[in-house]
Amino acid sequence: MDTPDNAGMAEGATRKFMFVNRKAPYGTVYALESLEVVLISAAFEQDVSVAFVDDGVYQLKKGQQTKGIETKNFSPTYRALPDYDVEKLYVERESLDARGLDVADLIVDVTVLSAAEMGALMEAQDVVISF
């Protein structure tokens, strides 16, 4: 393969990528490894959105303390996403409500969408990668 690692985008093509986070931040490695792809995708100058649904909304919860499970608290990285030009963060309202959470509980500014609106936004993407 002649394609370099973190470059080599198709000729001037910009596609709409959405990363969908569905899992709690700890317990499994999905959330951390999802964040790693989001950061890499930013280097490709794509139109990147990140969605948080189901237990994925817990990834953005304020006040995460991971010392007791000897795991890195990676939640501050979400706050750095705008530095990578990743500014479209969407959270599903139903997922927040079901867990007794509110936008004030989250560490970053997000756009809250209904499940139906989230579905429509997914429909408008070129690539949806769910973790």
Binding site: V37, F44, Q46, V127, I129, S130, F131
Partner: protein, 119 residues
């Protein structure tokens, strides 16, 4: 159609890898092109040649290797996820290569559809 495939689960524990493989076979049989299969999360465990399933079970790793040999499918294993789980060039099965996450984003750009197999 040009297809990209993402495999997020390890072999045997989860059916995602089987489904991805069978999907690839079916797509190729229908004349579609597989641009790349990218292995991420525990999916990287599909690539170790140290895997030895019982005789009466399918050999998932070998099956992927055969797909690469017979159809030239590009099997790419995420380097960061692989190193976390003890997958290195020295225990990589034939047909796989280790590279960066950029290869996943690139297949998203270059494929008509990216199909995700995971939990």
């Amino acid at each position: 159609m040009k297809l990209g495939i993402l495999v997020n689960e390890g072999p045997y524990q989860h059916e995602a890898s089987d489904s991805a493989y069978l999907f690839c076979k079916a797509a190729l049989a229908k004349g579609h092109e597989i641009h790349r299969v990218f292995f991420y999360h525990d999916g990287v465990n599909n690539s170790t040649r140290l895997t030895e399933p019982p005789q009466d079970d399918r050999n998932i790793v070998e099956r992927w290797s055969r797909l690469a040999a017979e159809h030239g499918v590009d099997l790419v294993v995420c380097v960061a996820a692989a190193l976390r789980r003890g997958i290195k060039d020295e225990n990589l099965a034939p047909g796989f290569r280790i590279s960066g996450l950029g290869q996943l984003v690139e297949t998203g750009i270059r494929s008509d559809r990216l199909v995700v197999f995971g939990d």
